[in-house]
């Protein structure tokens, strides 16, 4: 019996030894890094800023279909130069509301601003990192913050200012929401851009914000404040100091955007991509949105061909008023940035193969034939897909 009791005690002791639980209950993520690392180390700040570029790419030119694309197209066509055939219907009563299609630009904008705030605030407590490198990182976060505030105030007019990063500790703090004075918004924008101009160089690699970008935004901001002298100063500086120069019109939005006129473009690469969380991003549909589906014409004269935009959507199109503004013969923008009025039949099975089809040969149907935009044309896009991995120009911008 004594032995049995000893055995029992031994079993209990083993059990409790195995379950010494303070360490056991500690939770340590193995496949993710902690937010603390991003905002409390120099290396963390760098990966934090890299992620901001990725977020901005999705914010302004998202992959595939969905709410982000709808929100962006909303702002592209909600003027008197475009029209919409279907899908996002920006003028629809249910869509043209604060919670409708444009909402994404507000909520995601403030999200990215918060992440910029976190980098800017976090950097102030980092002392063991090269000051120049740190300022270069913070400068990029501040350009992004300024750019979004600049977009928001132009889109919404009445906006909020928030420069404090949200944390679990302050989320429940009482906040009084009040419309920011535009002067305060521009002061914030100017401050951020001035800091960036000081700390960024003209020679930043392709895909990263540079002093040129900061000056460009600062100049535009000055113009919105009617400070024309400041605008001239900034733009002159770009022209005279940056080494940037104009390129022939067919190259401006051509296949390779890494050229002298391009101040900034969002980069993509199918080989390094798949979706927007990956370095190369996902395929965008922007090159299909504004292009007719020529291949659907009932004549059977056309098949999908990358030269004519391949597979397309024609969800929104340019309108005839826009077309009427161009000198169709002499304006190179008209012949470069838009598809032509008449096309050569490209279906080998058609009896008219190789012939130019006259106007009477196209269906009276916007989806199949309309004034189509070629600025986003991607010569490498597949014939049967909407996906395009072409870089997307921001400065200069197409729409």
């Amino acid at each position: 019996m004594k032995r049995n009791i000893l055995l029992t005690l031994f079993a209990f002791a083993t059990a409790f030894f195995l379950s010494s639980c303070t360490e056991f209950l500690k939770e340590t993520p193995v496949d993710q890094i902690s937010v603390d690392y991003i905002y409390s180390t120099g290396d963390g700040l760098e990966v934090g800023v890299n992620a901001l570029y990725s977020l901005m790419r999705t914010y302004n030119i998202p992959a595939f279909e969905g709410t982000p694309l709808a929100a962006n197209v909303f702002f592209m066509v909600a003027d008197d130069l475009g029209q919409t055939r279907t899908w996002h219907r920006p003028y629809g009563p249910n869509n043209h509301t604060p919670t409708g299609y444009p909402a994404y630009k507000w909520t995601e904008g403030y999200k990215i601003i918060d992440r910029c705030n976190a980098i800017i605030a976090g950097s102030e407590n980092i002392t063991d990192y090269n000051e120049t490198l740190k300022n270069r990182i913070v400068a990029q976060a501040r350009v992004i913050r300024a750019e979004i505030y600049f977009d928001l105030i132009r889109m919404y007019d009445n906006i909020l200012i928030d420069v404090t990063p949200t944390t679990p500790e302050n989320i429940n703090d009482s906040i009084t929401y009040s419309v920011a004075n535009p002067a305060d918004v521009y002061a914030l924008i100017n401050g951020d851009l001035n800091f960036a101009i000081e700390n960024l160089s003209y020679d930043e690699p392709y895909g990263r914000y540079s002093k040129s970008v900061a000056r460009h935004l600062r100049g535009k901001s000055a113009m919105w404040q009617s400070d024309w002298a400041e605008a001239i100063t900034q733009f002159d500086a770009i022209i005279n100091e940056s080494g940037k120069a104009l390129v022939p019109i067919d190259q401006v939005f051509g296949q390779n955007l890494n050229h002298k006129e391009m101040l900034f473009a969002y980069t993509r690469n199918e080989l390094l991509g798949g979706n927007d969380a990956l370095a190369g991003g996902g395929g965008t549909w922007i090159s299909s949105v504004f292009v007719q589906r020529l291949y659907e014409n009932s004549s059977g004269d056309f098949i999908q061909d990358p030269e004519y935009g391949g597979q397309a959507l024609a969800w929104s199109t340019c309108n005839e008023y826009l077309r009427s503004l161009y000198d169709k013969v002499n304006d190179k923008r008209y012949t470069t940035y838009y598809y032509p009025e008449l096309y050569t039949a490209n279906n080998p099975a058609s009896p008219r193969f190789g012939q130019v089809i006259p106007l009477s040969g196209y269906d009276d149907n916007l989806r199949r034939y309309c004034f189509s935009l070629k600025k986003f044309h991607d010569v490498t896009k597949g014939a049967l897909t909407n996906d395009s991995w072409k870089d997307y120009p921001i400065i200069p911008r197409q729409i």
Binding site: P29, D36, I38, Y110, D363, G382, A383, T385
Partner: protein, 1033 residues
């Protein structure tokens, strides 16, 4: 090309492996079988009241594990000492005890019995007699489960227990169900019950073979559940598997085979009707003038319209499926060693072409008595399944929505990419042939235990287990698939390996003692540690130059993107229970459990869950002894709390790695890790053509204060049996309040975060459950029983954020999430259609002044305000159900048995996207086919759906989606023919039964789908008809 046919297959296709499995089982079984006979032999014969021999009577030497079964002629032989007592048990007969004494033979007649009250019921960490149960524990008889023609144990439980609502999760091959016990307690936390098999938490209820189940109990109230603490708030299902019996060897086979199809209760537009819909849609978009067919249709479509040759996609895509299910078990035992082994093979070919499912499950349960005070045992279970399915999650969708106009094949006989010439309708047959996902799942459980009983009444059990799950998914689209064609003829593939290992160590002490005259005390203590680790590796490969090696050629892909994930979670627990009764009349139970989980905030790791139960077995009072009409009467009441640590895994902000996954993995304890702390998403970028790494916090703000969700339940019940138990049943009422709800709280978007997992609010579930069994005819050769189950549960949100921003003294609702104080969690809140605007109607003066004739007219709560107002005009509709119930008939007449179950669920509303969605063909644009509706045209002003329009979906179309999904279903009908006992005896068998079963034969519902619980694009429960054979030796 059919690439998958060239892949090696490892499934048990042929008979060789089946035989091998069987041999292994037999080897295991016989290895441990050795008959020992050292005591005096007692022989005898057991008969019924008519003198017929009773085979299979359980005969046990009381207080020991020594036992046997009577033979086919009713005779038996057992070793016993003169001072020992033999206990004879047989279902339907009175349990009878006989002192061995000096008699050499014992001949006994078992009387017609009403022994249900003496059945043993498994409860948490122990067993009690059914008559002593005072908490809410429902038992389901295994034989009532396995007669349902399905592989899904959840489906087998449908309609079997009051308070347990089973709905279909996935009716595809290897189907699964959602089990909801006493309503939805949690808003964002999980609502799935904890499943414990032989003391080990299971990953999924279908990890085990239903034929292995010896008993299945469902713990419904807090008194029963609290011993499982933090994981028990959604109920607990306890499964005990079969074990070998002393001195008895039995071999059983149960197999069946049958076919399956789907039954839809809607029509889609025929070819002519679809062409007309298209004309109407273009007419609306063309200012009311019909364009020529040539202007709106392609040559291919015109061919169909002019020739009358339309495509019936349903006929092309769907087929009759088939099922096969074979189960062999061997139970054997000697004085010190008992073994139970089984193998089940299940095979299903899907209703969708090129889909199939195979599963093999094997089990070995072993008990070994080492010393009188030491026993050891082991339960092992192994399951492997393999499923093939085309990568068309939308295959049922496309069978409905693909336009019937055009040609399936090119002139050369190959499948035409765009049958109608428009890209909205790609040929669904292509991907059925050119894509495949092979899903391999392996589950195994090794459970070893040791029972140590140094003192009478005292037992210590060490329970160790390791459960592992391994999923391998191989998915491939050839260059000729739809994605391949759009991608320039390049294939793509995806390999996803996931595994989870869960260890458990439990120390369980129990002590039972009877004091004085009838004071019975039972004490149980449990200490437990569980640790679970999960790993995933996935590679997504795009642009494969050729399909020569299929999935095994991913190295040649242009892009290979890996995803790697892993996490760990753990639970530490201490629990105790004290049960007392006085002469089986007055009962008192106290239990509590303390749990600490890794997933909660550092300051809130521990949760404490106590419960109390009292019972009064009135029937055992002396004043009731002369009340003959009442056979059983017991009143019981319980109160206690249990916890919920769970939301579904991998839905948190930390799951960027999982956005590409389609496989859902259910863990037993299920809050996603890392929600209490800050982790970052990976968001990479490209600078100067070079990849740079980026990390950023996601949309979820972490919450370091996250803690348990707690459900507190009061339960009151009356068990009764009248007129020799001819009428018996239970009335039960309960009230459960769940507080500190794990909620995804919406945050102000300007904060930069959209949601935060937090604890707040309170939800109430109160309900009534009625179980009524009647034994209408109870004769030797003729039994007829009717059972009725009724459940009504009312779900209500009591509190949310505690805010009253408008100062009206009433707590604010969360309209964005559709959570309303005083209403159920599941509601719809949207505009209500009240008709279609007609020509000549004064539309301009309505609250929809811009509407046109043929548009949907919406309910206007305040006609005087002149506007469509989201705050005033939307209508709240409960999703339900109001109540559900089951009527079961069981009839035995001589060698024929018959049973039928009719289920009904009433007061359910569902959102049917097929009535309104563009992709589902509901939006009346003449682009995709869909469920046929009576749409409005100027010539058909009586149409109740709006006017079609090719350019855009009709305004407010979504308001038409709500549809009554109540249903009544003939769930199961089974008829069996058994050989009489005398005949069986003559051929050396104990059982031979041929049976026919039909499941889901008839469903009456207004819901337009294949199933009232699923939309038409989701796999419904199949209508299944099988023929089967049960044989025992």
């Amino acid at each position: 090309m059919n690439f998958y046919k060239s892949q090696p297959t490892f499934m048990f296709r042929g008979s060789t492996l089946q035989r091998l499995c069987l041999l292994l089982c037999i080897a295991f079984a016989t290895l441990f079988t050795s008959v020992s006979a050292q005591q005096r032999s007692v022989t005898g014969k057991v008969t019924d009241e008519l003198g017929d021999p009773l085979p299979g009577v359980s005969i046990i030497v009381d207080g020991t594990t020594n036992g046997t079964l009577s033979r086919e002629d009713g005779t038996f032989s057992i070793m016993a000492l003169p001072e020992q007592t033999l206990v004879f048990k047989y279902y339907g007969k009175k349990t009878t005890s006989v002192l061995v004494g000096t008699q050499a033979s014992v001949n006994l007649t078992l009387e017609e019995g009403l022994e249900v009250l003496d059945e043993v019921v498994v409860i948490g960490y122990g067993t009690v007699k059914k008559s002593d149960v005072i908490s809410s524990v429902a038992s389901v008889k295994p034989e009532n489960m396995t007669k349902v023609a399905t592989s899904d144990i959840g489906e087998m439980l449908r309609g079997k227990v009051a308070g347990v609502q089973v709905t279909l999760s996935d009716g595809g091959p290897g189907s699964s169900s959602n089990i909801l016990i006493r309503g939805q307690n949690s808003i964002n936390g999980g609502n799935a019950p904890l499943v414990v098999v032989d003391g080990v938490p299971a990953g999924n209820i279908n990890d085990i073979n239903p034929n292995d189940i010896a008993s299945l109990e469902i713990l419904k109230d807090a008194a029963a559940q609290s011993i499982y603490g933090a994981r028990a708030a959604n109920g607990v299902i306890l499964i005990t598997t079969k074990r070998g019996k002393d001195g008895v060897t039995s071999v059983n086979y149960n197999g069946n085979s049958g076919f399956q199809n789907y039954n839809r209760n809607f029509d889609i537009y025929s070819g002519e009707e679809f062409a007309q819909l298209k004309r109407e849609a273009f007419r609306s978009a063309n200012l009311g003038v019909y364009p020529q067919d040539e202007a709106i249709m392609s040559d291919l479509e015109l061919y169909s319209v002019q020739s009358g040759n339309y495509i019936d996609w349903e006929k092309e895509i769907l087929r009759n499926g088939s099922t096969q299910n074979h189960n062999v078990s061997i139970a054997t035992g000697s004085k010190n060693t008992n073994v139970y082994t089984s193998v089940q093979l299940f095979n299903q070919t899907g209703v969708v072409a090129n889909s199939d499912y195979n599963r093999v499950t094997a089990r070995v349960n072993l008990d070994q008595t080492v010393k009188s005070w030491l026993k050891i045992g082991m339960n092992t279970s192994f399951q492997y399944s393999k499923e093939n399915s085309p990568n068309v999650g939308s295959v049922l969708l496309t069978s409905i929505t693909t336009s019937p106009l055009g040609k399936i094949y090119n002139d050369d006989g190959t499948l035409r990419y765009l049958p109608g010439g428009f890209e909205e309708n790609k040929n669904p047959l292509i991907d059925i042939n050119e894509t495949n996902t092979e899903s391999n799942n392996r589950n195994d459980i090794i459970n070893a235990f040791l029972d140590f009983s140094p003192i009478k009444g005292f037992n210590y059990r060490l329970n160790l287990s390791r459960r592992s799950w391994n999923g391998k998914y191989l998915s491939y689209n050839t260059g000729e698939s739809i994605t391949g064609v759009t991608n320039g003829g390049l294939g793509r593939g995806n390999i996803n390996f996931q595994d989870n290992v869960e260890w458990q160590i439990e120390n369980i002490v129990s002590y039972k003692k009877t004091f004085g005259s009838g004071h019975n005390l039972s004490l149980t203590g449990v200490q437990s540690v569980i640790e679970s680790k999960y790993n995933q590796f996935q590679i997504i490969s795009n642009d494969l130059p050729n399909d020569i090696l299929g999935i095994y050629g991913l190295e040649s892909a242009t892009t290979n993107t890996p995803y790697i994930a892993g996490n760990r979670r753990g639970l530490v627990s201490i629990a105790g229970k004290a049960e007392y009764n006085y002469n089986s009349r007055y009962y008192l139970t106290l239990s509590t459990r303390a749990d600490a989980s890794t997933v909660f905030g550092a300051n809130n790791k521990w949760g404490y869950f106590p419960a109390l139960g009292v019972g009064w077995n009135i029937q055992n009072e002396s004043f009731m002894q002369n009340v003959k009409a009442i056979y059983n009467l017991k009143l019981r009441a319980t109160y206690g709390s249990v916890g919920n640590e769970g939301i579904a895994p991998y839905q948190s902000q930390s799951t960027a790695l999982h956005t590409v996954l389609t496989y859902i993995f259910v863990m037993s304890s299920s809050i996603a890790p890392y929600q209490s702390q800050s982790t970052a998403l990976q968001r990479d970028y490209l600078i100067n053509g070079v990849k740079v790494s980026g990390y950023v916090p996601g949309d979820f703000l972490p919450n370091p204060e996250l803690r348990w969700e707690t459900s507190t339940t009061a339960n009151l019940a009356l068990d009764f049996g009248l007129f020799e138990n001819r009428i018996s049943g239970t009335f039960e009422v309960y009230n459960t309040r769940t507080s500190d709800l794990l909620i995804d709280q919406a945050l102000n978007a300007s904060s930069g975060y959209s949601r935060k997992k937090t604890n707040l609010g309170e939800v109430q579930n109160q309900g009534i459950e009625v179980t009524l069994n009647t034994s209408i005819i109870r004769k030797k050769d003729f039994n007829f029983n009717v059972s009725v189950l009724f459940t009504k549960n009312e779900n209500k949100i009591l509190h949310l954020y505690g805010l009253d921003e408008n100062g009206d003294g009433i707590e604010d609702d969360d309209i964005g999430n559709r959570w309303f104080i005083g209403q159920p969690i599941q509601v719809y809140y949207q505009y209500q259609p009240v008709g279609i605007f007609q020509e000549g109607e004064d539309i301009a003066s309505s609250h929809q002044p811009t509407a046109k004739p043929g548009d949907i007219k919406l309910f206007d709560r305040f006609p005087d305000d002149g506007i469509l107002n989201a705050a005033n005009d939307r209508v709240l509709t409960k999703a339900g159900p109001n109540w559900y119930g089951t009527l079961s008939l069981n009839l035995n007449y001589k060698f024929i048995d018959f049973s039928a179950d009719i289920n009904t669920v009433q007061g359910v509303t569902r959102y049917n996207t097929f009535l309104v969605g563009y992709s589902e063909g509901g939006s009346l644009r003449g682009i995709k086919n869909g469920i046929k509706q009576n749409y409005w045209t100027p010539e058909n002003p009586g149409g109740n759906f709006p006017r079609p329009n090719e350019a855009n979906d009709p305004n407010n179309l979504f308001t038409l989606a709500l549809q009554d999904a109540s249903y009544t279903r003939l769930q199961n009908v089974s008829i069996g023919f058994s050989l009489p006992q005398k005949t069986l005896t003559s051929i050396g068998m104990s059982r031979l039964r041929l049976y026919f079963t039909g499941s889901n034969l008839i469903t009456v519902t207004d819901y337009q789908s294949y199933s009232p619980e699923k939309n038409p694009n989701e796999y419904p429960e199949a209508r299944t008809v099988i023929v089967g054979l049960q044989a025992g030796f």
